[in-house]
Symmetry: C2
Subunit: 306 residues, 2 copies
């Protein structure tokens, strides 16, 4: 049975027809617009040739999975938006709605680990730091569907104020803005290749540029990812000591730093976490980043009564 998966983000809507083995046909994307019905109609149109029995949607925001509504999405500017009804009207099929990081986690469970592990944590490393927790092969939603706010664990109790209201969340230090802020501090007194790549305009620094410089063996760039990796390692150690997962999958734009991020993160985790669970856990970077949301949304609609 194929399922249509739709991943609604702040700039793009990705979609594709997902088969029961996790492969995706007709994977494509359109720009996000506020006219959701028009977007759904266009997706329906371009997937006409494919048969699917259900539609699984994931959205960047706080989702009430039972009611099928988006409680709040600052990125999409939605509040209590009944996306399930909007989708039902267009597709005339059962609709399931999930948070995007939760869907990505289930996508990682399907694509990166072929469902071989029962307990998995996925961390999405981007502008925000999010994630999801798979327990016993099922998505763990918690009591109000809010579980998995991994980026809002506290790193520095009296640290930088976070948009969530807390102080010192991991997201402030290892999210996109945290990486940029650290890079700006680091290159000020250095002769780094990063400066050449941005033509001396410090406001043009991005995590991607830091990675490009690291690949050219720029010492400052490697140091930036090493520091970020060490902070990520504290977070990994927290997760390992609390939840003892079999695997942790990293995804999102920042995970493209690859070994520059992964190696120091795992080293710091092993330094900090208990021996038995930290030797057991595999920490990997997803090889299926583009598809995670679409595939996860589709698979979660399969496991949910609609």
């Amino acid at each position: 049975m194929s399922i249509l998966g739709i991943d609604i983000g702040g700039t793009k809507i990705k979609y594709g027809v997902v088969k029961s083995d996790g492969t995706v046909s007709h994977f494509s994307n359109i720009d996000f617009t506020t006219d959701v019905t028009a977007s759904f109609l266009r997706i329906k149109d371009t997937t006409q040739g494919f048969k699917y029995k259900k539609v699984g949607i994931c959205v960047a925001g706080d989702v009430d999975n039972k009611k099928g509504i988006v409680r709040f999405s600052p990125n999409l500017n939605w509040k209590n938006y009944d996306i399930r009804s909007a989708a039902e009207k267009v597709f005339k099929k059962p609709i399931n709605v999930e948070n995007d990081a939760n869907a990505a986690s289930f996508g990682a469970h399907v694509l990166d680990t072929k469902m071989r592990f029962k307990n998995l944590i996925c961390i999405t490393l981007g502008t925000g730091i999010g994630g999801g927790v798979i327990v016993d092969g099922k998505l763990y939603r918690g009591s109000t569907g809010s579980a998995g706010e991994i980026g809002h664990l506290t790193y520095i109790p009296e640290g930088i104020i976070c948009s969530c209201g807390n102080s010192g969340c991991f997201e402030r230090y290892i999210g996109r803005d945290g990486v940029i802020a650290l890079a700006k501090r680091k290159i000020q007194s250095r002769n780094s290749q990063i400066l050449k790549l941005i033509n001396g305009d410090i406001d043009k620094i991005t995590p991607e540029i830091v990675t490009v410089a690291a690949l050219k063996n720029d010492r400052t760039a490697v140091e930036i990812w090493t520091e970020i990796g060490k902070i990520l390692g504290v977070l990994l150690a927290n997760l390992v000591n609390l939840l003892n997962p079999e695997v942790i999958v990293l995804t999102g734009g920042l995970s493209k730093a690859g070994k520059f991020l992964l190696v120091p993160a795992v080293a710091e985790m092993k330094k900090r976490a208990f021996k038995t669970p930290s030797e057991k856990v595999k920490v990997i970077i997803s090889s299926h980043q583009e598809h995670l949301g679409v595939v996860g949304a589709a698979f979660l609609s399969k496991h949910t009564k609609v």
Copy 2:
């Protein structure tokens, strides 16, 4: 069906016959000795009049539940000790072995919340800070049975070195020694009632004495518990943002500080955690502390194939 529950700690072995409604008959305790077989024989002897079909044991240490062995217990000085075989020889019944904090968590699920909630976290506040996670009404063990090391999440990344090898674990700040260290610092320049209670001998400070002083409205004592509570609140916020539980149960010696600890902890949690999950979660102090391990060990043996 009644089950014999046995809770083996560093100084005492508690036991009792647990009925299917969680009530305990013949609850008693004996001193811990290294001659486990002698202890089991004595327990068998004193519970002769009661019928039970299984024996559930919990132990302060790292337990391999599948093999029924204690991998490591620094308190009891055991390493790879086959406690299941030792118990089988005496009781001639199916035996299940658990970690004591995990058993206490399941005990809290049975006794404090009458199994009304699917997702519960229990935190044991004593010399060590431990705990357990109940997901979907079942004990969550993780991939090597190591889940629930709540006290070894990091509070201060470059903080006090912990016995576990990490730096800055919550246990170092809000465990028994952390409370005593804070109390010693706080009373040095103060005219606190604590000083009277210990006859000026600063080495006699205990958390219990701080609570006695707090009950007499001693300002310093109240401040000590408020500071400890705030740190506990950071930990609670981490758990709420990550796992979105319906209830968090506090138990262990330090939880006897009651409102002096609970009120600032919950206030700090609400300040830090996401609104929806922090409004939903109930944080309570267990009313069944003495029985949690025995009842949890008994109930977990019921849910485990033996």
